[in-house]
C-alpha cells in the first residue's frame, strides 16, 4: 500500500506570532492543497494561539542557497569590515552615534 503522505504535497509553514513581526518558519506538513495546508497548519502549529497569521508555501517552490556553497557564496563580503559600524573608531564623547 502506498503511503498516503507520498501522494500529498509538502508545505512549509510560517507563523506571525504578533502583528508587526515577521512570519517565522515553524515547520512543515503534508496536505492536498494550499487551503488544506492552512487548516492543518492551524491545527498543528497554533494550538496554543501561537500566531495571528499563517503562511503556507509549497516546499518545492522554495529556491534556497546551498549551505555547502556558503563559503564562495558569501565570500565577497568577508573582506569588507568597513561595512560595520564598529569598524570606525571615534572619540569617546561622540562614540554613541
Amino acid at each position: 500500500m502506498t503511503n498516503i503522505t507520498e501522494k500529498l504535497e509538502l508545505f512549509e509553514v510560517f507563523v506571525r506570532s504578533k502583528r508587526g513581526l515577521d512570519h517565522k518558519h515553524v515547520g512543515s506538513l503534508h496536505a492536498e492543497d494550499h487551503e488544506q495546508a492552512l487548516e492543518y497548519a492551524r491545527d498543528c502549529y497554533t494550538r496554543r494561539s501561537e500566531g495571528v497569521s499563517i503562511w503556507v508555501v509549497k516546499s518545492a517552490d522554495i529556491c534556497s542557497s546551498q549551505e555547502d556553497d556558503a563559503d564562495c557564496f558569501y565570500d565577497p563580503n568577508d573582506d569588507k569590515p568597513y561595512r560595520h559600524a564598529t569598524y570606525y573608531v571615534l572619540p569617546d564623547p561622540v562614540n554613541n552615534m
Binding site: G20, K80, Y82, R83, Y87, Y88, L90, V94, M97
Partner: protein
C-alpha cells in the same frame, strides 16, 4: 464610523500594527504611499550627490567605504519600494511619479557636493538626521514600513560614523582641510535641519499622520533632538557652530536655536534648488540607459519559457 473603521482604529490605539491584507481607510493607504514612496525616492536620488565623489575619493579605503555606502542606499530604496508595493502601487507607477514630479524626495539632495568634505558632512549630518527620523519610524503603525525601518536603522549607523570619521580627519588636518570641513558644515547644517520638514503648524499631513501613528513624533520634536545631539559633535571636531544663537536652555532642557530660512526651504521643495533639474534628468537618463537590460531580461525569460514548453510537449 463603520465597524471596519472602528476595528482599524482599535488596532491603532492598541499599538497593534496594520498589515497589508487588513482593511484600512483609503486616506491611510494614500498617506502611506505618499510617505513611503517619497522615502524610497530619497534613498535612490540620494545616491547622486555622493556618487559624484566615488571616482575622486582621496584614498582607496575611502573609495571602498563610499561605494559600500552608496550601495546600501540602493538597497534601502529597494526595501522601501517593496514595502510600498504591499499597498497596491506598482514600481513603475512610483518611478513615473518621481520622474514627473508628482512624488517628491527629500530636498537635501538638491544641494550640490562641491568638495570631498561634503561627503563627510552628508554621512554625518544628513544620515544623522535621517537616523533620528527613522528610529522614530520604527514604531510606525504600518507593519511592512516598520520592519523596513528596523532593517535600515541597523545598517545606517555605519553611514553616520564613516562620515564623521572622514570629516574628523579633515578637521584635524591642515588649515586648508579644516577650512574645507568648516565650509561643508556651514553649508549642510541648515539643509539638514530642514530635512525634518516644515514647522508642525505648517505641515499639511502631520495631524492625520500622528493620529494614525504613521508618524510618531512631530517634525519640530525630531528636529530638536538632532540640534541637541549635534552640538557636542561639532565641539569635538573643533569647528565653529554655524548657528550663532545656539544656547543651552536650562528650563527646557534643550538648546535654543535660530529659526530656519523657510523661503529657501519652500523654494527648493518647489523645484528651484541648485540641482533639482539635474537630479531628475540624471534619473531619467539612467533609467532609459537601463532599458536594454530590462529588454534582455524579458527576452531571456521568454526564451526559457518557450524551451520549457517545448520540452514538456
Amino acid at each position: 464610523m463603520t465597524s471596519q473603521e472602528e476595528n482599524f482604529m482599535r488596532k491603532i490605539e492598541a499599538e497593534e500594527k496594520i498589515e497589508p491584507k487588513d482593511w484600512m481607510p483609503e486616506a491611510y493607504r494614500k498617506n502611506l504611499i505618499r510617505q513611503i514612496s517619497q522615502h524610497a525616492h530619497s534613498e535612490v536620488i540620494g545616491m547622486q550627490p555622493e556618487g559624484n565623489w566615488i571616482t575622486r575619493a582621496p584614498s582607496l579605503r575611502r573609495k571602498a567605504v563610499l561605494l559600500s555606502k552608496v550601495q546600501d542606499e540602493a538597497g534601502h530604496g529597494l526595501y522601501l519600494y517593496s514595502a510600498c508595493e504591499t499597498l497596491g502601487i506598482s514600481r513603475s507607477e512610483m518611478i513615473e511619479q518621481l520622474q514627473s514630479g508628482a512624488a517628491k524626495y527629500s530636498s537635501i539632495f538638491n544641494y550640490p557636493t562641491l568638495t570631498w568634505a561634503d561627503v563627510g558632512a552628508i554621512g554625518w549630518l544628513v544620515d544623522g538626521a535621517a537616523i533620528v527620523n527613522q528610529v522614530s519610524l520604527q514604531r510606525t503603525s504600518y507593519g511592512p514600513y516598520s520592519r523596513g525601518m528596523i532593517r535600515i536603522c541597523k545598517e545606517e549607523s555605519f553611514h553616520q560614523r564613516q562620515g564623521y570619521e572622514a570629516i574628523l580627519a579633515l578637521a584635524k588636518g591642515s588649515p586648508e582641510q579644516k577650512a574645507m570641513a568648516q565650509d561643508a558644515l556651514n553649508r549642510f547644517y541648515w539643509p539638514a535641519l530642514m530635512m525634518f520638514g516644515p514647522h508642525d503648524s505648517e505641515s499639511a499631513h502631520s495631524q492625520k499622520s500622528m493620529e494614525w501613528k504613521i508618524k510618531r513624533e512631530t517634525n519640530d520634536d525630531l528636529r530638536q533632538k538632532f540640534v541637541d545631539q549635534t552640538v557636542k559633535q561639532i565641539e569635538v571636531l573643533g569647528l565653529d557652530h554655524p548657528d550663532k544663537n545656539i544656547k543651552w536652555n536650562e528650563e527646557r532642557g534643550h538648546y535654543d536655536s535660530s529659526d530656519l530660512n523657510w523661503d529657501e526651504f519652500w523654494s527648493v521643495i518647489n523645484g528651484n534648488g541648485h540641482c533639482n533639474r539635474q537630479r531628475i534628468e540624471h534619473h531619467v537618463a539612467a533609467h532609459d540607459e537601463g532599458e536594454w537590460v530590462r529588454d534582455a531580461l524579458s527576452a531571456y525569460n521568454e526564451k526559457k519559457r518557450a524551451k520549457k514548453a517545448q520540452n514538456a510537449a
